[in-house]
Amino acid sequence: MSPRPPAGRDWYKDAVFYEVHVKAFADGNGDGIGDFAGLTARLDYLKDLGVDCLWILPMYASPLRDDGYDIADFYGIHPAYGTVADFQKFLDEAHARGLRVIADLVMNHTSDAHPWFQASRTDPASPYADYYVWSDTDRRYQEARVIFVDTEKSNWTFDPVRKAYYWHRFFGHQPDLNYDNPAVRAAMLDVMRFWLDRGLDGFRCDAVPYLIERDGTNCENLPETHAVLREFRRVIDREYGGDRVLLAEANQWPEDVRQYFGDGDEFHMAFHFPLMPRIYMAVRLEERLPIVDILTHTPAIPPSAQWCLFLRNHDELTLEMVTNEERAFMYYAYAQDPEMKLNLGIRRRLAPLLDNDRRRIELLQSLLLTLPGSPIVYYGDEIGMGDNVHLGDRAGVRTPMQWSPDRNAGFSTADEHTLYLPVITDPVHGYQTVNVAAQSRTPSSLLNTMKRLIAARRSSPAFGRGTMEFLRPRNQRILAYLRQHGRDTLLVVNNLASSSQAVELDLRALAGCTPVEILGQTRFPPIRETPYVLSLGAHGYYWFSIERPDGANEPYGIERTAI
């Protein structure tokens, strides 16, 4: 195991994450499916992009009926992706480049093919008999909602072998583990130790609100679930020195997600699910209120905790955390073709969602990288990859990474018919035009812009750690905010409108200071007591660092006496 990149315990607060599916990134052995060998060979690309930590989607042995979220062996790598040794090599190579890696871990359930489940259903005397939630009736926990409304009618499925119902919050082939059973908790901790011992930097924990069930509740976010999660955090902190990170997937309202941070003793990070659709809403409405509203109603979190922000991920753009009215608007605005809808969401990638409008894509990336939290970039979105809504379920946003205009987009040397999914070939987003090779050579490409934005984000810890203060100019199409950390102050101004806008900002508190635009290092006129006037082109954005006048804030504190 190679040394892990040195950093403080709260490295995740400054990090830019990159979500990648092993099967989708690069095929090292030419069988049509991406693997760890391929991913390892592409690490330099990720280093060059400037991201800090990779989030690997489920890599474990699995029948792949839910793209790996149906784990059949927590200790094995899916054979199509390689071996544990291949994983280790990948991890070591990532660490050698200063990249960290966290991996998805499905805590809530297993595949029905998992030996634990097979033992549980066949032998009531086996030690695994109580590893799952069994019942003689399907009438219990009636208040729990069905999440996959398009495919599942009930959270219970009858097992003809054990002749009982088993509980599942997701697909019927994904029986929920019984976390009331101490043996299950111990077994899952052992699973985590196995990968942490190999140097893994943490886990993105899938579907954590559903670990424990209780009658008379909706079986989500229960205190008993939080107790289990705190126990896990305590053990991992104690045994691994406190710099391994736990990231919660809890698709819930902020006040419910807040509980997953505990008092800084549960998860380090959690996704901010409700913010994401509101970013799209704000841009389509050309009105800042949705973003200001959700962030204003986001509770404060412990000092060691951090939100994780994203624009898109491997799932549908989920609309669970919006009102019915808002959902109708989102469907109207972003999914006019019924094929684009899935469950309570929209199965499209970033670029097609935004009509491949470069200015809007950049604006959303600007928001992602400057709002409070650590951003996650979904693989391919840095080059504006497209999707294929006809591929079923969420496969359309999980197609092969587009590396070059060569065969199979440079993803694989296999016969194209053997690819796990076809590459995107439509005339707008197809790999012949949208690919890494072409964009690397074009200084103004989206890829190179992303690199610049990510690099600029490194210029100040205030991006990851700063406070958030919205400015409230009369022009509602402008979203402007101050981020402050220590002596660093950032001013971010975004034009949500598709037309040029002027705005008057009340910056009196910073009178005498000079905004310096970070990307171009351009000094703007100094701030005075009068309103600060800016004009922005359509979907334009500014990232300013605020330079204090001489004496008030010497940039380093050593200038006056350096010789």
């Binding site: 940039p555 350096a562 010789i563």
Partner: protein, 420 residues
């Protein structure tokens, strides 16, 4: 080398008359000025008190070389109650528009005329002061003059009591470099204040290699020549150094480029001074040695590291031309993302500076760009210094700085092997 500075203006017609009225004069106090009306009266008062208290009966005069002040600085000096010679020199207009780091446009030319005047006055000691340093006391005069007066020293350079995060360019860059070049552990090679004996003055004025052009070379060349040719070099502990200036820049890249550029230029113009030197030794000192103070200071390690990271992003193409591959690898391996774990090894820093010296000599990049592109590296090194000494006292901080100097010495062969 081409002459880019204007020739010295002819001495004002009355200069000869002024000198004739004063010569001979045992102690000459030189004061180059440029709009220092606010500070010179107090300096002259300290000079008068020092001479009266410690050198009673010695003949003394003030020699002012002014670079074109518009605030009556020379007039104030003439009225200061001391025998006074007023000279002027025409500083290059570019230096008046953007005043060099030490605050005096055309300082080299000012020093040349000052040396000339001191010799014509038959001075035993020339003391040079800075016109914007307000912490001068009568003890400064005593400590600077005494060793020369008693014929023990030919050059006395200053040592100041400073906060440990003052003088980071000097402590981390100039002093280790000059120590390694000349073999003497001087604390302030660009101290601005010094005393010279008549012997050294006369030697320097007649020296065939004496820089007659160039910028800010005289101080360092004089030091190097004095050491190389066996003159006795001492150090005087003067106390704190407070500067009250309207003209000095606080722009780090300018300071660093000018001061380090001067060292590199002297290295090139007169490499006989340093190529054969190995090791180093401390110099004799007058006054009480004091370690740097360790009171809390507002120094932003985060900002310095931010500048270093921006350098890594923006200047890598220049560094690839300047730094040797293994030096560049060492720099790229530094992980500046985490303050707690971040270190900048001393020997790597020495290699970086030597690679820049070599890059300057061989002109691999436009020299101004080269010098300025060192700034993020210097800030990265300074950030590591501050981070490493935050919990240290003055003595521990001195030990850390001593290790920097020792690392430069240990790498000197690397420099000399590539220089020839």
């Amino acid at each position: 080398m081409t002459d880019t500075t204007p020739a010295l203006a002819p001495p004002p017609p009355e200069l000869d008359r002024q000198l004739a009225a004063l010569a001979p004069c045992e102690i000459v106090v030189g004061l180059p000025t440029y709009n220092n009306a606010a500070t010179v009266p107090a300096i002259v008062a300290a000079v008068r008190a020092g001479l009266a208290a410690h050198f009673t009966g010695a003949s003394a005069a003030l020699v002012n070389v002014d670079a074109g002040s518009t605030d009556r600085t020379p007039e104030l000096l003439a009225e200061a109650g001391m025998p006074c010679v007023l000279a002027r020199h025409e500083a290059p207009s570019v230096e008046r528009a953007a005043v060099p780091f030490h605050g005096v446009p055309g300082r080299d030319a000012a020093l040349r005329s000052l040396f000339d005047v001191a010799r014509r006055l038959q001075a035993r000691v020339l003391v040079l002061l800075e016109a914007d340093v307000t912490s001068v006391t009568e003890e400064w005069i005593e400590r600077l003059v005494r060793a020369v007066w008693e014929a023990k020293a030919d050059l006395v350079t200053p040592a100041y009591v400073r906060h440990r995060y003052e003088g980071t360019i000097t402590n981390l860059l100039l002093a280790p470099l000059v120590r390694t070049l000349f073999g003497r552990r001087l604390r302030q090679p660009f101290g601005g204040t010094f005393a010279v004996s008549a012997r050294l003055l006369s030697h320097a004025l007649g020296h065939p290699v004496r820089p007659t052009t160039g910028r800010d070379l005289m101080d360092l060349w004089l030091t190097g020549t004095a050491i190389a040719e066996g003159f006795a070099v001492w150090e005087a502990w003067l106390g704190p150094r407070h500067v009250e200036s309207r003209t000095r820049t606080t722009d780090l890249p300018t300071m660093l480029a000018q001061a380090l550029g001067a060292v590199f230029a002297v290295m090139e113009q007169d490499d006989e001074l340093w190529l054969g030197v190995a090791g180093s030794e401390p110099v004799s000192a007058v006054g009480d040695h004091a370690p740097p103070s360790a009171t809390p200071a507002t120094v932003s390690v985060d900002r310095m590291l931010g500048a270093f990271r921006r350098g890594l992003r923006d200047l890598i193409e220049i560094w690839e031309l300047v730094l040797a591959p293994e030096t560049l690898d060492g720099v790229l391996d530094l992980d500046a993302r985490d303050v707690l774990a971040y270190r900048f090894p001393d020997r790597l820093w020495a290699r970086v500076v030597f690679d820049f010296a070599l890059g300057h000599r061989y002109g691999v990049v436009h020299r101004e760009h080269l010098l300025r592109s060192l700034v993020p590296l210097y800030l990265g090194r300074t950030a590591a210094f501050v981070a490493a000494t935050q919990a240290s006292d003055g003595a521990e901080t001195e030990a850390v700085l001593e290790r920097v100097g020792a690392a430069f010495e240990a790498e000197k062969l690397y420099l000399t092997e590539r220089w020839r």
